[in-house]
């Protein structure tokens, strides 16, 4: 968590316990804190305060955003158009809306969605809504939001933008009807998602009515305050952070294929998130390499099917047509140092070589 989030949480906690909908003094204090957090987040996201709600997670924001658009568009149809590389939260919600599943638009080798194919998919007359991420959460490639948003607008189809991977790291996307984001991705606390619905968009809460607003119940006020403070803090330094981390990612992208044989670095090398780098190592088991890196003090993710909790490989890597086994996704934190990256690049080649030796696949 960003230090600004911890400080804001601690400062708010004593006054943040009451239901902000209650008229007594403690409720009014909680209300003030919540309103300030909402106002701050709205400013950070380029939205109006009354367009912003807090949810319990980014996933909940995506679910509610999509299901709410589907309710608002039920008379038009149930078809959902989305890129093939959306977060599974989007794909699962889309399957709930239309049991036939979403119309998935393909991506290129870098993971970028095909704008013309997206435009064509939107022509189906029963299209209720569309979804496109601002950038891919696994490989970091930025999506062509502007032309896709224009195509959706031309068809009168509302667009949900899953901006969870971008907010706090890349430029905040302006082109959306509904926006979903997740506070822990920008250094805020876990358990806070953000759902923004543009004024005038036909969105109806998928939850039973609740007098408090579009999201049922009252939010974790101190956590909302912490989320807003973290976002203000990271946005104040965003461009400097992006430049620094992007240079470190460039170093990793160039060094890894040089230091480790039979590796493919994936995702767009330029039009990408500043802090994410993904690559796949031939003949290596994804779980073995993440476990070995964990022992060396590096917490990295993998899109490989060999990783314990997945039965199938990452649908993102599959849609891109890149190697799914031996996959590693490195997300640099704000405070990563050049020395951290040096140590990673020192440890990785030896570690992969050892795993390959153990598997008897050296020299293939």
């Amino acid at each position: 968590m960003h230090p600004a989030a911890v400080a804001a949480w601690q400062a708010a906690a004593p006054d943040a316990w009451a239901d902000p909908a209650r008229p007594y003094a403690a409720g009014r204090r909680a209300r003030l804190l919540l309103d300030a957090a909402r106002e701050s987040l709205a400013t950070s996201l380029g939205a109006r305060a009354d367009e912003v709600s807090f949810t319990s997670s980014g996933t909940a924001a995506v679910h509610s955003g999509l299901l709410g658009l589907a309710r608002g568009r039920a008379r038009v149809g149930h078809r959902v158009v989305a890129s093939a590389v959306e977060h599974s939260a989007v794909l699962h919600a889309a399957r709930r809306i239309d049991p036939a599943g979403p119309t998935l638009v393909g991506v290129d080798r870098a993971g970028r969605v095909d704008v013309e194919a997206f435009r064509t998919a939107l022509q189906a007359p029963d299209t209720a809504l569309a979804a496109l991420q601002s950038a891919n959460h696994e490989v970091g490639t930025c999506q062509p939001l502007e032309p896709v948003a224009q195509a959706a607008r031309d068809r009168g189809v509302p667009l949900l933008v899953d901006a969870a991977a971008t907010i706090g790291w890349g430029a905040t996307p302006p082109h959306w009807d509904v926006l979903a984001a997740s506070a822990h991705k920008w250094g805020g606390p876990p358990g806070v998602g953000v759902l923004a619905v543009r004024t005038g968009v036909r969105w109806r809460s998928p939850s039973p009515d609740d007098s408090r607003g579009p999201v049922p119940g009252f939010p974790a006020v101190a956590a909302a305050v912490a989320a807003a403070a973290a976002l203000e803090a990271v946005l104040a330094e965003r461009e400097a952070t992006a430049r620094r981390l992007s240079a470190l990612v460039d170093r990793i992208r160039q060094a890894v294929p040089r230091l480790v044989p039979d590796v493919e670095v994936v995702g767009d090398p330029v039009d990408r998130l500043p802090h994410v780098v993904t690559f796949s190592c031939l003949y290596v088991d994804g779980e073995a390499v993440t476990t070995a890196l964990d022992r060396a003090g590096f917490a990295v993710s993998s899109g490989s099917a060999c990783v314990a909790d997945a039965l199938v490989p990452s649908h993102v890597l599959a849609a891109m047509g890149v190697l799914t086994h031996g996959n590693l996704r490195v997300s640099l934190p704000y405070d990563v140092t050049e020395a951290d990256v040096d140590r990673f690049l020192a440890v990785l080649p030896e570690l992969v070589a050892r795993l390959r030796t153990d598997a008897g696949v050296v020299g293939l």
Binding site: L282, L323, V361
Partner: protein
């Protein structure tokens, strides 16, 4: 799980000189089996691989691309059948 086909089976692609049955084995084993066979065989040789692991559908074509081998059009990745013509390294 390697079987040499005695006389070789002649298809449009030429002679399949080795068949690999990797059904029931998980990633990255089918690709490793393919790479081991490729290391023993000359350029131009055609291999047939059966693999039902869902990752193979993506990883076998990706391996071919990375190593410069040719995935023949008669492959059917969705059915788990791959025909690969080896190219010189």
């Amino acid at each position: 799980m390697v079987s040499e086909s005695g006389t070789g089976h002649r298809g449009d692609e030429g002679v399949v000189v080795r068949e690999l049955d990797e059904r029931g084995r998980l990633c990255p084993l089918p690709v490793i089996a393919l790479a081991r066979a490729a290391a023993e065989l000359p350029a131009g040789a055609v291999l047939r691989l059966w693999a039902d692991d869902p990752a193979a559908r993506v990883d076998v074509p990706a391996w071919c691309r990375m190593k410069g081998h040719e995935l023949l059009a008669s492959s059917d990745p969705d059915a788990g059948t791959f025909l690969v013509r080896l190219c010189a390294p």
